[in-house]
């Protein structure tokens, strides 16, 4: 606890006092802060304070070659890095008019969904921890690690795969990978039963999560809520289906929704999404051996690759919601401007500030975690 956390508030008649959640606080996801004003146990005002993870990505990207940026982008959202790479690549491919080989598209879907499962496993561990239950965190992170092993095998890196590149992916799958992937998926699917028992049907957890941080459908649309948080309000919107990219229009998958719009509904949506993602990956495993061809369309020498002038707006459904890259080229060898619309930029700032008001102090952390906000997406 930092001393600046306990500054006296200068309006003596009220019994309000200020409390800082973060930046060094286990109830905050990542390095982020929320200044809340409390009256008794109830929050009367909340102000987000970001910038602890600010690195000036958008500035850095303007100073690096188109290809060099692929090692930069996954760092924008650490728990779910793949959508960052894919989305940037999609934007650049559109600008450069690069055809994406079919095999590469399937491989990207494979990674995106794997990453989604990994992010959700990580997420609900965190969510459970905010309510004082640590076992799901230990389990979730350990099971996520099995997926990271797969990433390591496929891409050479555990977390930052740096595997997608404008034009495709960097390497083909290693021998026997699909079998191991399939085995791991079976294992994870089997584990979902344990998670249900431990966490999703845990009466005390349900009691705590129900009715926390309710977003109505109207509010959700008004505040530009996206992703699982939007679907938890009963709105069946998903970039994968509404604005399909890669080969998502060839895949069969449900878009799980819940009604209620509270922390509990958001948790359930993510739980169901894991099942859907597993089924998508199974479809990929089935289809992939029949899809031959290269995994990458060659690009010119990256040191001197110029992308034609223009702009493009690529959108991807990440585990947190709608992720978009606005890329502008002036025909040079570096992007002229890249703007990253992280889904959490909405969730962690405006939505959280509004939802926190009226919350009891013990539910603030849960509200933030249930939104699955990722602070580096805000800070960039």
């Amino acid at each position: 606890m930092r001393p600046e956390n306990y500054q006296a508030v200068n309006h003596p008649p009220s019994n309000e006092y200020e409390l800082n959640f973060g930046p060094n606080h286990p109830g905050i996801e990542g390095n982020y802060a929320l200044k809340v004003k409390l009256q008794g146990d109830t929050v009367v005002e909340a102000r987000a304070d970001a910038g602890y993870l600010h690195r000036g990505f958008e500035k850095l990207m303007e100073d690096r070659l188109w290809i060099q940026n692929i090692s930069l982008v996954p760092r924008i959202c650490v728990p779910d890095p793949v959508p960052m790479e894919v989305c940037y690549s999609l934007a650049v491919e559109e600008l450069a008019g690069l055809e994406l080989p079919e095999r590469a598209q399937w491989l990207r879907v494979l990674q995106l969904e794997l990453s989604r499962i990994a992010a959700h496993l990580f997420y609900f561990g965190g969510h459970a921890a905010t309510t004082g239950m640590y076992t799901p965190m230990y389990w979730g992170v350990a099971d996520r690690d099995l997926l990271l092993d797969l990433f390591e095998e496929l891409t050479g890196g555990r977390v930052y795969s740096i595997y997608n590149m404008p034009g495709g992916v960097r390497q083909d799958i290693p021998r026997g990978f699909l079998q191991r992937l399939s085995d791991t998926l079976d294992y994870i699917e089997g584990r979902l039963k344990d998670y249900d028992n431990l966490f999703f049907t845990n009466q005390i957890f349900v009691k705590r999560a129900k009715g926390i941080g309710i977003i109505s459908q109207e509010q959700a649309l008004e505040w530009s809520v996206t992703g699982p948080n939007l679907r938890a309000c009963g709105l069946e919107f998903d970039v994968r289906r509404d604005d399909p990219y890669l080969i998502y229009d060839q895949l069969k998958f449900d878009i799980p929704t819940e009604h209620g719009g509270d922390a509990w509904a958001r948790t359930l949506v993510r739980r169901l999404e894991m099942v859907e993602s597993i089924s998508i990956i199974r479809q990929v495993i089935k289809a992939l051996p029949d899809i031959k061809g290269p995994v990458r369309t060659p690009i010119p020498n990256p040191l001197a690759w110029r992308v034609p002038a223009g702009d493009s707006y690529a959108r991807v459904e990440s585990s947190k919601g709608e992720l978009a890259y606005y890329v502008v080229s002036n025909g040079g060898d570096k992007p002229y401007r890249v703007h990253i619309r992280g889904p959490s930029a909405m969730h962690a700032v405006q939505v959280l500030e509004k939802l926190a008001v009226g919350c009891r102090v013990e539910d603030v952390a849960q509200t933030m975690f249930s939104l699955d906000a990722c602070p580096p997406e805000v800070d960039r």
Partner: protein, 233 residues
């Protein structure tokens, strides 16, 4: 950057004065041993390397085997893990946190970014060399290092603590002027923290010739008096 060059800083090679009392020595060794076997790690995710800490803490790589467990507040923690880049905004908090931690305290710099800026070397928002602001005991290479590497690094630190070699916290007191100078260079001259480092240095008898200098003079000129609650030894 600052007037003193990093190379001027020498490690505190003064051997811990062996007390004549054999029991005291045994006691010292026992404490060192326990220190190495019980490390409380501050739960502070400064940067992206923090994503590999949960795996290291949880079931797959289980840090608790080594007696390491995460702690929530700096007062309770022994190790400060700087997991990757520190933005200037975070760096202020890191320094505050570091100063609040109880000695002996250890700092581990994880990832490239803590050494020479890493990926973000051209970024206007991140600090480049962690060692300019707080002394570092150990670096773990990687971007980001795998949980195994983190655990390997922690074992190295354990070995150092056991033999009483991890003394970087003393360096902070002995060369406070250098660190403060670099902090002022980045945060401006009216930078101050609620912890009275000079007072602590005197208490621990770690005040060296480089504890005070031109930068601490600046600090004294801008410092508002510390409230008794904020700093008491």
């Amino acid at each position: 950057m600052s007037n003193t060059d990093l190379s001027n800083i020498e490690v505190n090679q003064k051997p811990v004065a062996k007390r004549s009392n054999p029991f005291a020595n045994v006691f010292n060794e026992l404490v060192s041993f326990c220190r190495s076997r019980s490390m409380f790690m501050l739960h502070y995710c400064t940067g992206c390397g923090a994503i590999e800490l949960p795996p290291a803490m949880t079931s797959r790589f289980d840090m608790e085997r080594l007696g390491i467990q995460p702690m929530v507040t700096p007062r309770q923690a022994d190790i400060l893990l700087i997991t990757g880049y520190v933005s200037i905004k975070t760096l202020k908090r890191v320094i505050l946190t570091y100063e609040q931690m109880g000695a002996p305290k250890y700092v581990i710099g994880i990832c490239s970014c803590t050494v020479n800026g890493g990926m973000y070397w051209q970024s206007y928002a991140t600090a480049k060399k962690l060692d300019e602001y707080i002394p570092v005991d150990l670096y773990i290479a990687g971007c980001m290092p795998r949980p195994e590497a983190v655990i390997e690094g922690l074992q190295q630190l354990m070995a150092k603590i056991k033999t009483d070699e991890a003394n970087s916290w003393k360096k902070y007191y002995e060369h406070y002027d250098y660190y403060l100078g670099n902090q002022q260079h980045l945060f401006g001259n009216n930078w101050q923290t609620p912890t009275d480092i000079i007072g602590e240095a005197k208490t621990y008898q770690l005040e060296g010739p480089n504890t005070l200098g031109e930068h601490t003079k600046i600090l004294e000129s801008v410092q508002r008096p510390l409230e008794p609650l904020e700093m008491k030894l």
